[in-house]
Point group: C2
Chain length 333, copies 2
């Protein structure tokens, strides 16, 4: 086959000037920046040569900013930012959670919001099931036992407990919760759930009250969004309802659980075990938990794998391209 004629190298700088503009408030992951920078031009306040404060920077560029891309949780799209950007039309976040975005204000001003959709649901659900198995069957603790050289010395390691047949209560049956349910169904678990509003299409038992759900569950999995209403939704009453043999799993956000109470209940044996990927004051983890073999501790990593980062990158590109070509967003909120 004949080779196509060589194209002259494009004038990269000139071409970049024509790319659609997106405001970002903090540096992106390098792989993200690399994947996006051929298609979009980023406005980066922290690189501003004049070192002006953010407000002044935004005022200077307000006319050209139609999109802001913000991961949170440290930088927030609050009413001050929204007011500073009168031409803002889209807030895009590469997360499933949106507690760093003032959604009410966006709605009031007609600003669209798009998130990561269900890209993270599968990884988070997988990890939640991993934590369930790990706590019940004591996988991490047994690994510690073997690595510590204790097997030849102490003999058999205590058995864990069976997963099949256990009653699992899921707090938040969104896309992650549904993926968790699907997986644990295959293990022969009996699934129930609580959500703000009942899901009529769900085959699982609904509980209106989290305390009642906890009382009827062997395993309680927390996976609802963090809002003012759900902060400390797992309090002492819920933990006591779950009981001495109950296991709690949190792959949502740390403040969904009253952590002080959880630590107290675990230390005093009022709750049977826990698998925790998130904590109230990350990266600080209560040291009392380090001594417990019925607890699995994880550094907020349920949500992500390299494979999902690539899927997410494609989704962000697709959302931005849809916006700039006046097509419907793929994952509007």
């Amino acid at each position: 086959m004949e080779e196509p004629p060589q194209q002259p190298p494009p004038d990269v700088a000139a071409a970049a000037k024509d790319l659609p503009l997106v405001l970002i408030l903090e540096p992106l992951y390098p792989s993200f920046e690399e994947g996006l920078s051929k298609r979009f031009r980023f406005l980066k306040p922290w690189e501003s040569s004049s070192q002006q404060p953010l407000e002044a920077f935004l005022a200077d560029h307000a006319d050209s900013i139609r999109v802001v891309f913000c991961a949170g949780p440290f930088k927030k799209i609050d009413s001050a930012i929204i007011s500073a950007l009168p031409r803002l039309q889209l807030v895009l976040t590469p997360s499933a959670g949106m507690n760093h975005i003032d959604l009410a204000e966006c709605r009031r001003k007609g600003i669209a919001v798009a998130n990561a959709g269900t890209v993270f649901s599968v990884d988070t659900a997988d990890y939640a099931v991993g934590l369930v198995l790990d706590v019940l069957r004591r996988v991490s603790a047994a690994d510690r036992f073997v690595r510590g050289g204790l097997w030849p010395v102490e003999g058999k390691y205590p058995l864990g407990s069976k997963l099949s047949g256990k009653r699992v209560g899921i707090v938040g049956l969104g896309s992650i919760g549904s993926e968790i349910a699907k997986r644990l169904d295959a293990f022969g678990c009996i699934i129930s759930y609580t959500t703000r509003t009942r899901k009529p299409s769900s085959p699982y038992s609904y509980f209106q009250n989290i305390c009642d759900l906890a009382a009827d569950s062997d395993i309680l999995i927390i996976v609802c969004p963090l809002t003012d209403e759900t902060r400390h939704i797992v309090n002492r009453d819920v933990l006591l309802a779950l009981g001495k043999k109950g296991v709690i799993i949190n792959v949502g956000r740390g403040p969904l659980i009253d952590e002080k109470e959880l630590v107290r209940c675990l230390v005093e044996g009022e709750v049977g075990g826990a698998g925790l990927d998130v904590f109230e004051n990350e990266p600080t983890v209560p040291q009392e938990l380090f001594l417990l073999d019925n607890v699995v501790l994880s550094p907020h990593k349920a949500v992500l794998t390299p494979e999902s980062v690539q899927e997410l990158l494609q989704l962000v590109i697709a959302n931005l391209e849809a916006f700039f070509s006046n097509q419907p967003l793929l994952t509007p909120v």
Copy 2:
């Protein structure tokens, strides 16, 4: 309601004399002994008052021994034992594996054999999936990272890899392998298998050769019985076919894998990771593995939970009662 009249306490010793007799070769778990001793009388060579050797003990009782109950793996029902017991009609084992029983000799002499059936399948399958999740998503390693106080110091822990979409090769699609397949199906994995003979009813892809299966798998799960043919079925060729990103899980028996080669491949990065519940020389675990974060080590405990021990007890009782009342065994081999 009127209370039923009090029964006089039965003469326990006299009643026990009438119970059906079962030979055991080593002490039972206490909970097992307790659960069985009301229904059966055990003949225990090691409690023989005359301290005679086993052969002499068996010769003395040969006329009355129709059943032997033997867990293995240390005590074996070999041809010597079988020859010493001319009235033997049933060998019962509370395990799924039967490599401690000379099955050919039993068959030749028309001695029935019954095992644990599928009582352990669910627990073993659950644990295998736990190991898969643990190795891929680095659950135990992350727990070690947090307990070591490294999260605030080193920041983010490296991401694991996604389970969904991975190609899983199962070596041995019996009851455990099928339960594993059912579970990993729900995670969106693509399942293949190899067995001695193809299972026409299975929906999964069949490979005749374990090397071909390994080459086509991201995760290889070893769960076949240990026999002369399957010893070291996972050799260096299989491990290299699985490859640098491949993960191997063993919940079968240690000698199914050439452990020296596995250790070498893991240390040299020729295999991506491993989740091992069984080892060639238990309870000895190769110390080189203690240094690896891509390996999860477990002290041969996949098979059992307290809940299954209870199910097993009921099954043993049911098999013995069936035998002594000339009914068909529940789990004949």
